[in-house]
Amino acid sequence: MTIRCEIVSQDRTVYAGDVDIVVLPGAAGEMGILPKHAPVLTTLKYGIVKVRTAGREELFTVAGGIAEVQPEIVTILADAAENVEEIDEARAEAARKRAKEALASGAQADTDVYLAMEAALRKSNLRLDAVRRYRKGRVNLPGSEG
């Protein structure tokens, strides 16, 4: 028995398929979703979504958003999402540097600009973290803390 999983970011559909289990970074911690799960609506933390089909596992970074669980379908509406295998490590590192410098260059705390910068930095950190921990078959750790 499988459950449908759809991961959609604001600009594209990142993943859609029938899977055995989905593990997502819910507001109250990691949640494993199996078919016939009770309906849940949860916010997502920065973290990793794991999708397993027939022994194969795929990993996605999500930078916040919400997940809707229905007995036959999990819909993940992420503010940003990416397949870990698709992340370009060099570019992610460059983006992290940029974000860090921008943040250090002194924007006013609590302004929209500052919050946007901080979000960018967190996102970059998450992507790098994901790449380094999960790439190339090293798939054994629980999800990262944002």
Binding site: A38, P39, I66, E68, E72, I73, T75
Partner: protein, 296 residues
């Protein structure tokens, strides 16, 4: 028949017009491509968001879940957000939206207020003596979510303060280059099922009667976050759909205008040639007549 000189001037002006319309067609063609990319990119998210909203609203006891979901009876007044463009020369694009709006809402027995998005639609609404409470014109060519977020905010405020018991959204759904469909959607309180929505926007019903959700972290917090945001997102998506439709409509209208101008130039040229030939013939006849008169 007009003189040859007049006809030459006429032919030249028609040719000039066809150059302008051809240029506009080319510009619209490139704009429509960008607009389609934008609308396709966000459509998946917007569709899913709408689907989640309808699932939330389908739960038992939706009235008490969130103020934006609560249905009010009786409905004493309504608000309609009408999305059109800022520019003309787009064929029947604007008038289709306004005619649709009038057809749908003129017979409503309660006072209806309007929020106009786009200058053309605003002007037509005002000419029809509608009560326009807000006007959002001159949106950027490729608006971001932030650019349009004021529009849903006005609508939500109006709804919350009791100025409108129902809020509708009228826009143009982009199907393909040749087909755009005017559609209406009830935004607040959220409508299940729905009228006049097309497939692209239609959520697939996943399962039967929806069971109540478990919420994490808690119901209040999550609904407060997603309901206003996803409602705003529907407005954003409607604007993107409308933009793509507008450019497509303009492109088709301009192509037709160019074709018509070409046809007209052909017809005028033929008539002009006839007039010119006639003038030459009568000139020759004059000369021959004169020569013969001299010879006698």
């Amino acid at each position: 028949m007009a003189s040859a000189r007049e006809m030459r001037i006429r032919i030249r002006s028609v040719k000039n017009i066809s150059q302008v319309t051809r240029a506009l067609e080319t510009v619209s063609a490139s704009k429509v491509r960008k607009a389609i990319n934008a609308v396709m990119a966000t459509r998946a998210y917007a569709t899913k968001a709408w689907q989640v909203l309808t699932h939330v609203a389908a739960q038992p006891g939706r009235e008490s879940l969130h103020p934006l979901l609560a249905r009010r009876t009786p409905v004493n007044n309504a608000l309609v957000v009408v999305v059109t463009g800022d520019r003309g020369l787009a064929g029947a694009y604007t008038s289709n939206v306004i005619r649709f709006t009038a057809h749908r809402f003129d017979s409503v027995p309660v006072p209806v207020k309007y929020i106009a998005v786009g200058r053309k639609g605003r002007d037509l609404l005002i000419r029809r003596r509608k009560q326009v409470i807000a006007d959002f014109s001159n949106l950027p060519a490729a608006p971001s979510f932030m650019d349009v977020s004021a529009i849903p905010r006005v609508a939500v405020d109006e709804f919350m303060q009791g100025g409108a018991d129902e809020v509708f959204l009228v826009y143009t759904d982009f199907i393909n280059m040749g087909r755009q469909v005017t559609a209406v959607k009830r935004l607040l309180p959220l409508e299940l099922g729905g009228e006049g929505r097309v497939e692209a926007f239609e959520p697939k019903q996943v399962s039967g009667p929806a069971a109540a959700y478990e919420y994490e972290p808690d119901q209040r917090e999550i609904l407060d976050e997603i309901i206003p945001r996803f409602t705003a997102l529907q407005v954003y998506q409607a604007i993107l759909e409308s933009l793509a439709s507008e450019h497509a409509a303009r492109m088709i209208a301009m192509r037709n205008a160019t074709d018509n101008a070409k046809e007209l130039v052909g017809a005028l040229q033929l008539a002009y040639n006839k007039v010119r030939q006639q003038a030459i013939t009568s000139d020759i006849l004059d000369i021959v007549g004169g020569a013969e008169a001299l010879a006698q």
